[in-house]
């Protein structure tokens, strides 16, 4: 596997604010990556830098090994679906779908038609008259049917209901399986998307705070509950991220349990449960209740 995106010291300042602050990472080819973080964390700015829509203040971005800025060779291989895409006045859904193949050499019209039907996307009404969800649906259709080698989805489903989002995930997985490519999915609905992701980047206040394999991240913490004395006995010598107690019962969140630890916990009568990716990330990105909790 080779790196399809390489960022090195990438920084974007708006006046005194660093929207993207000294970010370095490499994403490998042929995988679904998650770009996660709170609203305003810098996800969109980062993607704009990676797609050549904005100039970095400092640092470099390389996509397909080259700078994306004003680089038609690179940009023709990229599709960027934005949360708030602007369209020309009176542009209708059908115009969007008609012009899309001009920009995306690997566009699949049959797939687009299937998706239009599946999402019930209205093609005959002006884009600006559509609801947010309907506009999102058209964005999602373009993003999927583009089959671009590198596709960015930036909060692609604003206004889409749970059923439509589920459809998006299912289509994404099925089509990705048949036509492997690189997907970068930016979202704040972390738990919904968590299982689709292979690698997770988390941005907080412009800085990259987590860059990890999703499986490793998931496995990095477990919550154990049971009788307080048993729980405390088990906790000895372990890194405890979180601890709560109710009468004689206690629950702790500990890092990295191996299979043997799990067996030991089970035979001590402790109940194990998953710590979701979302919970882990909330701790790490300064959720008010988590405070300065250290994770991983």
């Amino acid at each position: 596997m080779t790196a399809i995106i390489e960022a090195s010291g990438l920084t974007k300042r708006f006046g005194k604010v660093a929207a993207v602050d000294d970010v370095s990472f490499a994403l490998e080819d042929g995988a679904i990556h998650g770009l996660l973080g709170r609203n305003g964390a810098g996800k969109t700015t980062l993607m704009q830098l990676l797609t050549g829509q904005d100039f970095a203040t400092r640092g470099t971005a390389r996509v397909f090994g080259e700078s994306p800025v004003e680089n038609a060779g690179v940009l023709s291989r990229i599709c960027f679906i934005k949360e708030s895409q602007a369209y020309p006045d009176n542009f209708k859904g059908k115009h969007v779908l008609k012009t899309a193949p001009w920009f995306f050499p690997r566009w699949d019209q049959d797939f687009a038609d299937t998706l239009v039907e599946d999402f019930g996307a209205p093609l005959d009404r002006p884009m600006k008259k559509l609801s947010r969800g309907q506009r999102s649906a058209i964005g999602v259709i373009v993003g999927l049917a583009s089959r671009a080698e590198l596709t960015f989805f930036d909060e692609p489903y604003a206004g889409l209901d749970a059923v439509a989002r589920r459809r998006f995930y299912d289509h994404l997985l099925a089509d990705y399986a048949e036509h492997p490519r690189t997907i970068v999915l930016s979202t704040h609905l972390i738990d919904e998307a968590a299982n689709l992701l292979q690698r997770v980047l988390v941005i907080d206040e412009g800085r990259l705070v987590i860059d990890a394999d999703a499986d490793d991240l998931r496995a990095s913490a477990t919550t154990l509950a049971g009788k307080a004395t048993d729980v405390e006995a088990f906790a000895v010598g372990r890194e405890v991220l979180d601890r709560s107690r109710l009468g004689g019962l206690a629950s702790i969140t500990v890092t990295g349990l191996n299979e043997q630890d799990r067996l030991a916990a089970a035979s001590a009568g402790l109940e194990a449960s998953a710590v979701s990716l979302q919970e882990l990330i909330v701790r790490r990105t300064g959720g008010a209740e988590a405070g300065e909790g250290k994770v991983v």
Partner: protein
């Protein structure tokens, strides 16, 4: 699907369960990575990792260009391993509960015999 373990391990456990209960007998073809990924709504790389656990242990066999199959003797191998884990995984928690309820070993034995006669 979530018991706190990494997803790929949960996938492996599910496949093992299907081998154990005979849903996937020896020589049967196993769903492809992509089918598993779509069914469980997980990343195909995660599904592959889960499957590879079974491949590494000789429970599944990859035949290039054809697919993946349950190895002959896979069920027996798993049974042996599971029997080894039975005490620590299942009996230890039962013993704990029984103690908490004030049941004696004899009483538990009787209940167990009754359950197993069903």
């Amino acid at each position: 699907m979530d018991d706190g373990r990494p997803l790929f391990q949960q996938i492996a456990t599910r496949l093992e369960a299907q081998i154990l209960d005979g849903t996937m007998p020896a020589e049967a073809q196993v769903p492809s990575i992509n089918e598993l990924a779509e069914f469980h709504r997980i990343n195909p790389a995660t599904a592959l990792k889960g499957v590879n656990i079974l491949v590494d242990r000789g429970l599944l066999i990859k035949r290039r260009g054809i697919g993946m199959f349950v190895a002959s003797g896979a069920r027996e191998k798993l049974l042996e391993q599971r029997r080894g884990e039975f005490q620590s995984m299942h009996l230890a928690p039962v013993a704990l509960h029984a103690k908490a309820l004030g049941l004696t070993a004899i009483e538990v034995q009787r209940m167990l015999a009754k359950e197993m006669d069903r």
